[in-house]
């Protein structure tokens, strides 16, 4: 299985293309912006209120409700997605600002029914109870490993601290990341 970081690498010029937003067709922020967004490898043509957050776009316009709203203020991490392989809080990311970049959500991890090693590790270690923060935790955990911030338990705790879990599955989340780390490295070499 390919890791997410390799799957979502985009050419550098894609970032530059953001400088010419298709949304600049009106001075009114409420006017719909027309743009294309690439989510989990699929392109979506969109016309939405320019103020729409990436989170609300995923949930309310693309029916990708795996990404959760926990605070809408970037304080809880429940809405974490990958943007060009890097973790971002989608509630503080305007949807129009994500055009030209590869968005990966929790729905984009499993390939042909086979779970990503991080998803399997979360099951194995019961790294959740209610499950609401879980998509954000998993997206964050994948990025955490790819950043090289999962080499020690102390690092995992520190670099996973942007994702709150009110059920407090934290020790199990650490164990899950520890399990998935070598599996992800093996996968990325394949």
């Amino acid at each position: 299985m390919a890791s997410v970081s390799t799957a979502t690498v985009v050419p550098a010029f894609a970032r530059a293309s953001r400088a010419t937003p298709a949304a600049a067709n009106s001075g009114d922020a409420r006017a719909p912006s027309d743009f294309t967004l690439t989510v989990n490898g699929r392109d979506h043509r969109l016309a939405v209120d320019s103020r729409t957050s990436l989170l609300d776009l995923l949930r309310e316009h693309l029916a990708l409700t795996g990404t959760k709203k926990g605070c809408d203020h970037g304080q809880c991490g429940a809405c974490t997605v990958l943007l060009d392989g890097r973790r971002v809080v989608s509630c503080l990311t305007l949807a129009v600002a994500a055009q030209g970049r590869a968005v990966t959500t929790i729905e984009g991890l499993a390939k042909n029914g086979e779970l990503h090693p991080m998803q399997q590790a979360f099951i194995d270690h019961d790294a959740f109870q209610c499950g609401y923060c879980t998509p954000g935790q998993i997206m964050s955990a994948i990025a955490c490993v790819n950043e090289g911030h999962a080499e020690t338990d102390a690092d995992i705790r520190e670099y996973m601290s942007g994702n709150l879990c009110r059920c407090a599955a934290y020790p199990n989340i650490v164990a899950a990341v520890r399990q998935a780390r070598p599996a992800m490295k093996t996968a990325s070499r394949d």
């Binding site: 409420r30 209120d49 103020r51 729409t52 609300d56 949930r59 309310e60 029916a63 990708l64 409700t65 795996g66 990404t67 959760k68 709203k69 926990g70 605070c71 809408d72 203020h73 304080q75 809880c76 429940a78 929790i106 729905e107 991890l109 779970l115 998803q119 399997q120 979360f122 099951i123 194995d124 270690h125 019961d126 790294a127 959740f128 109870q129 209610c130 499950g131 609401y132 923060c133 879980t134 998509p135 998993i138 995992i156 705790r157 520190e158 996973m160 601290s161 994702n163 709150l164 879990c165 009110r166 059920c167 407090a168 599955a169 934290y170 020790p171 199990n172 989340i173 650490v174 164990a175």
Partner: protein, 760 residues
């Protein structure tokens, strides 16, 4: 390497089966209510009052209405058709109206509905109220608060525990302590926001809302709308954390239902995090006055406990945890009293372990102080006062394994290495303290009904309107059915969280596993009996003529001890049925048969805890190491060990997670959590997840859970004592006691922040 998350079962414990909903939860497919697709929804955004007491004189809606896409605005002027449902009769609060009277800060005063969330948010910010404002009473000590005796105003607490003559006991006791403790307001802050989606089809309403009680919400909403409850369906397949906050109906639901009706279009509300602090409930602040008297050998002779709890102006919400604390040790004489203090606040409500979190914190802190005064080890002191009979009426415990829990936790922790002298243990720049406390939670069982269908291929479907809030309900209900029907867990489909299913009680009081599994067990037993009857009454089957008592279900067959067996398929064929389905109603001993009809009507009675001929409690012992930095006074909890006994444990994996998460909740209570109130305006200051402190991953180090075997045939047919609210009880006291042991400083007001350790 052993998987700590999946402990090996000991006696009377079920397998650590992975959660049956795990795959859905890790792939984003678990459908929480606000994830449910509805056709062309409009979006609602709430406007809430900025004052706590007064009146709306004028509501300027022009700016809001001018926003393109705005469809409707609900205010007190157009919501008069909503009926009132009183506090205690299905509603979390009596403050239900959108005005014009304002009785709490953050009261909903308008619901703005628009084509998009963005337009509704924009418009909501343009609603301009003009108030006439009065000075509110914020909390304890504020001018204008009023106080009442809980026994006079709370129907559930007409009698509080009393035994013997406590005053005389204190007068004659050689060692007496007389102390006061205080706990802050706390908000549940489940990760999922408070959402409501309402859709009408003709005169039928469907409500998608995270709920701990779909039948309660269904009946409550029907009452507010003045319609037949049969025309309301509530769906809550998953709740993204609840902790009590989603147990009773809050005012928003009927407002969204009305908005959807007026528009003839589905309406979806996702309230903001800040609004969640005022449109739902919270754990109120409490004060405690405790006296303990003891003989020199440590035997307690008297315990008195007077509690003070804040509630709203109109509602007497009170938890009265003395009902439980008074049962805990051989106290001798007991005197208890509870006072409700009314302030201009939203009405508090159930929050994880409502009665015991504040009251056991106070008692277990006092127990440590008494042990200190007696010069006794705190565990030895509890052992001296351990009892198999409640001091209230000398009633026996149905089972009690407290000291076994202490022994196993102490061994794992290394308690014997504790130097009893406070401040004597040090590691470099860190002062080290060991503390302990008892965790206790009343065992509750409620009525429930279940429908089970078995197919000839050994697949089963279980239907019961229980609630998945992270408790593992899908999984343990499936395990009970699999066990009774002799099939794999993977062959069981469980449907819960829908008011179209047979009813289960509110997922409160940690009763879900006990009540639901008892109902499922009863229903499965009916199916077993039918299969056994068909097998033994056959003319020529392999089990013909045998006694049904000698049969069991195994691997999709009815089998006898000697190995003879007949497949479900063959038995079904003889019975002439394609499926065997049954429905059963379970009413625990001590409740009237009417309990099921009440449950259908959204009312729940439960048995257990301090009531009845036997007292029923789950218990545990928590031992904690605290480190306080000598210079900065930074407080860390490097390790905590808890040992717990709670009757039959259905699944050691889900149990482990609940107990582990519970202890971390306890750490949070001790060191992190408090809702700060501005006393001038009776408003919450830190109403967001950056300023309301809860533990993050980096705050938590070693958390060890020890499961202690216990068998209890008295509590309920499932033999289960609920434990979802067990492990966060006592933790704050254990940490308080460890902080004292590390520093010599006794903190009697939670949370313990480092500024409280700057003295001396």
């Amino acid at each position: 390497m052993a998987n700590a998350a999946a402990p090996t079962p000991k006696a009377n414990m079920g397998a650590p089966a992975p959660r049956v909903d795990a795959r859905l939860k890790v792939t984003g497919q678990a459908r929480y209510p606000s994830d449910t697709p509805v056709g062309n929804p409009a979006f609602a955004v709430l406007v809430t009052s900025t004052i706590a007491t007064g009146r709306i004189e004028r509501l300027d809606l022009d700016g809001a209405r001018a926003v393109p896409g705005v469809l409707d605005i609900l205010t007190y002027e157009n919501t008069g058709e909503l009926k009132g449902v009183k506090f205690g009769q299905g509603s979390s609060t009596s403050i239900e109206d959108l005005g014009p009277e304002i009785q709490q800060a953050g009261q909903i005063i308008a619901v703005v509905v628009a084509d998009t969330f963005e337009a509704a948010t924009d418009a909501a910010s343009r609603v301009k109220p003009t108030y006439s404002e009065q000075t509110p009473s914020a909390t304890f000590g504020s001018p204008g608060v009023t106080q009442e005796d809980a026994t006079k105003v709370s129907p559930q607490h007409k009698h509080l525990p009393q035994a013997g003559d406590a005053e005389a006991a204190f007068a004659g006791a050689p060692v007496v302590i007389d102390l006061e403790y205080e706990t802050p307001p706390q908000h549940h802050n489940p990760m999922e926001l408070f959402t409501t989606t309402c859709a009408w089809t003709a005169d039928h309403l469907t409500v998608y809302e995270p709920s701990q009680f779909v039948y309660g919400l269904k009946n409550g909403v029907a009452q507010r709308l003045g319609i037949d409850p049969d025309k309301v369906r509530v769906v809550s397949s998953y709740a993204g954390g609840a902790f009590g906050s989603k147990g009773t109906m809050t005012p928003r639901t009927a407002m969204i239902a009305l908005a959807a009706k007026r528009l003839n279009r589905p309406v979806k509300l996702v309230a903001t995090r800040a609004q969640g602090f005022t449109i739902a409930t919270y754990r109120a602040e409490t004060r405690h006055h405790i006296r303990l008297g003891a003989a020199r050998d440590g035997k307690l002779v008297g315990y008195s406990h007077e509690g003070f709890e804040v509630s709203s102006r109109p509602d007497p919400y009170v938890v009265a945890g003395v009902e439980d604390s008074a049962q805990l040790y051989a106290f001798g004489a007991v005197a208890t009293k509870v006072n409700v203090v009314h302030a201009d606040r939203n009405t508090p409500g159930y929050m994880r372990s409502p009665p015991v979190v504040p009251y056991i914190y106070a008692l277990e802190s006092a127990m440590d102080e008494m042990a200190q005064k007696l010069g006794m080890d705190p565990i030895a002191f509890r052992r001296v006062n351990d009892t198999m009979n409640s001091p209230i009426g000398n009633r026996p415990y149905s089972s009690r394994s407290l000291m076994t829990c202490y022994d196993q936790a102490a061994a794992a922790f290394g308690w014997k290495d504790r130097n009893p002298q406070p401040g004597a243990m040090r590691d470099g720049d860190w002062l080290v303290g060991y503390g302990c406390a008892t965790a206790v939670y009343p065992t509750h069982t409620g009525p429930a009904a279940a429908r089970v269908r078995l197919k000839p291929n050994g697949e089963a479907r279980v239907q019961i309107a229980a609630h998945e809030i992270g408790n593992g309900a899908y999984t343990v209900i499936g395990q009970m059915a699999a066990e009774r029907l002799g099939i794999d867990l993977a062959s069981v489909t469980v449907e819960i969280g829908d008011s179209r299913l047979p009813p289960a009680p509110v997922a409160g009081g940690s009763n879900t596993t006990a009540s639901s599994c008892s109902a499922v067990k009863k229903t499965c037993n009916l199916i077993r009996a039918r299969l056994f009857h068909a097998a033994v009454t056959a003319n020529d089957g392999p089990l013909a003529g045998r006694s049904a008592d000698d049969l069991m279900l195994q691997d999709g067959k009815v089998v006898a001890n000697d190995g003879a067996g007949e497949s479900f398929a063959d038995i079904f064929r003889r019975m002439g049925v394609a499926v065997v389905e049954d429905y059963a109603e379970f009413v625990p001993d001590g409740l009237k048969p009417q309990a099921i009809a009440d449950l259908y009507a959204g009312k729940v009675d439960m048995v257990g805890g301090s009531h009845g001929d036997k007292v029923m409690y789950a218990m545990g012992a928590e031992l904690v190491e605290v480190r306080v930095h000598v210079l900065t006074r930074e407080i860390r909890v490097p390790r905590i060990v808890g040992a717990f006994a709670a009757g039959r444990l259905m699944n050691t994996r889900t149990v482990h997670s609940q107990l582990m998460g519970g202890m971390i909740w306890g750490i949070s209570s001790a060191l992190h959590e408090a809702t700060e109130i501005d006393p001038r305006y009776a408003r919450y200051v830190n109403d967001n997840l950056a300023d309301y402190m809860i533990p993050v991953n980096a705050d938590v180090d070693q958390v060890q859970v020890i499961l202690v075997s216990e068998v209890d045939h008295d509590v309920n047919p499932a033999g289960v004592k609920g434990l979802g609210e067990l492990a966060n009880v006592g933790t704050a006291a254990a940490i308080t006691n460890a902080v004292h042991h590390a520093t010599g400083i006794r903190v009697r007001k939670l949370p313990i922040r480092l500024e409280k350790l700057l003295q001396a």
